[in-house]
């Protein structure tokens, strides 16, 4: 069946933006013009089209979504958010193993919002990119989950914890074993500091490479489809991304056991 409503929903930037705006609540024409930065006559044309298709209604000079609009526009927004994430960095998502993200989180990948890929420069290939370290040191509450060992973990975590940062780590058995074997002293030191927590989960329970969430930003990194890893972080400051990252962290923490002493 030819879907004319689909065209009405997607084939005009102005209509799309107006529908998304009305998802926040009814608006009068002045608010619409100011928020979308449009002039009267072009937007009125689009308003008329949307009204003709019963997607929006007008009452008391306020425009709002119709019942049908309320059903369709949230589904449209979910599509736009997700498509945005892929359009921003098409090659990344093609080459990384996105199925390593737990299904319920992959489903809401659109929440990453306005993210960007940050890579360390060639002199710091085994460290976090400078930007990430800066954001980390400005954060008060840090949650890191990781399924691979990054050599800067011991020093970075101790450094953050020593200055009073609330820091919780969820490592896989693999990473924990590596720490036990090669950085036992640092690990003991870390656990003895105030505001530090360590959890360990089964290797199979965490397939993403790593993730950081603080009250300021979140970052995510995945393995390539081939299983190879290159040092990178997808960094986002959007509220929706912080919430997504926090929930992902809690997901891993929920499957992990706490380590209080070694």
């Amino acid at each position: 069946m030819e879907s004319s409503l689909l065209d009405v929903l997607f084939l005009s930037e102005k209509r799309k933006n107006l529908l998304l705006l009305l998802l926040d609540g009814p608006k009068n024409i002045e608010e619409i013009k100011n928020t979308l930065d449009v002039r009267s006559s072009p937007i009125m044309t689009q308003i008329k089209i949307l009204m003709k298709h019963d997607l929006i209604v007008e009452s008391n000079r306020l425009y709002k979504l119709s019942s049908i609009g309320e059903i369709l526009v949230p589904k449209m927004r979910a599509i736009l958010e997700t498509f945005n994430v892929f359009d921003k960095n098409h090659d990344y998502w093609i080459n990384q193993d996105m199925t390593s993200i737990p299904p319920e989180f992959l489903d809401s990948l659109g929440k990453l919002g306005d993210y960007s890929e940050v890579n360390p420069d060639r002199n710091h290939v085994f460290e976090y990119p400078k930007e990430v370290v800066e954001h980390l040191s400005e954060s008060e509450k840090v949650m890191i989950s990781s399924s691979f060992f990054l050599p800067i973990y011991p020093s970075l975590c101790i450094e953050l914890a020593a200055k009073g940062t609330d820091i919780t780590l969820v490592f896989t058995e693999y990473v924990y074993d590596r720490m036990l074997n090669d950085y036992k002293k640092e690990l003991e030191h870390f656990l003895n500091l105030k505001y530090t927590k360590l959890y360990v989960c089964n290797n199979n329970n965490m397939k993403i490479a790593s993730s950081i969430v603080t009250e300021k930003f979140m970052s995510l990194s995945l393995f390539c489809n081939s299983g190879i890893y290159y040092n990178h972080n997808l960094v986002s400051f959007d509220d929706s991304a912080l919430k997504w990252g926090k929930e992902l962290f809690d997901h891993y923490k929920g499957m992990a056991r706490p380590i209080t002493r070694i």
């Binding site: 069946m1 030819e2 879907s3 004319s4 409503l5 689909l6 065209d7 929903l9 997607f10 084939l11 019963d54 119709s66 019942s67 049908i68 309320e70 059903i71 369709l72 949230p74 589904k75 449209m76 979910a78 599509i79 736009l80 997700t82 498509f83 892929f86 359009d87 098409h90 998502w93 093609i94 996105m98 199925t99 992959l106 489903d107």
Partner: protein, 261 residues
Amino acid sequence: MESSLIDLVFRSDKRKNLLILLDGGSKSIDEVRTELDVTATSILPQIKKLIDSDLIVQEDRMYKLTVLGEFIIKKVKPLISALEVVEKNNCYWTNHDLNSIPRHLLERISELGDCILVEPDLNHIYEPSPKIIDSMVNAKRASTLASYFNPAYLPLYVELGRKDAEISLNFTQSVWDHLSNEHSNMIKEVMGMDNVSLYVSKEGVKITEITVTDRIMLLGLFDKNGKFDQQFIMSFEPSALRWGQELFDYFKRLSRQVKEI
């Protein structure tokens, strides 16, 4: 810049339909041509675009979705299937008052699937609609919420009750007052049956009727002016029966059970 996903998926019906087709499994070019009713020359450029954008791949002469393609279709489907329900009976949905249907069920309107519109037959306007009666006579269970009730249906429920069908009836106060006053014999009879439960809900339910049996789901809404136009949406799909049952149960929780007149 590469074309955006919105353009790729929605700007061409051929591409959209191809993606939806491949969601059902990999297909050869012949199967694509037959099932979409297109010529090879018209579909091949679209296939190439989708391959170039990594949404589909070709392996052993078969086309299939990539992981990204699968995910994209999964995201797009809730909207497409909601649109299918809405567009099939567009006039009904846009001209009726949906405000009484709770949000979480409205969001799942796609579960109604392939609906048909039941309109009053001018020859039977004061009698039960034969279509509805036919679909209910052998029901093993039936739940009905009605804020408008044609007493002519009452014998049907009495008969179903006698045949041991599990029946739940939920009427608004005014319908209940009318039925218990004017048709007290039949009401008393069903009330005495163990397999029948009766509920009374407050006025203000802006649904004329919701009926769910083991075979059909019937939904009637008031029109935008608050009038009952005797039009119903009917569906036979299992997902629609579950949807209707949830709607019925939602109102049941807001009602009180009655055990005597």
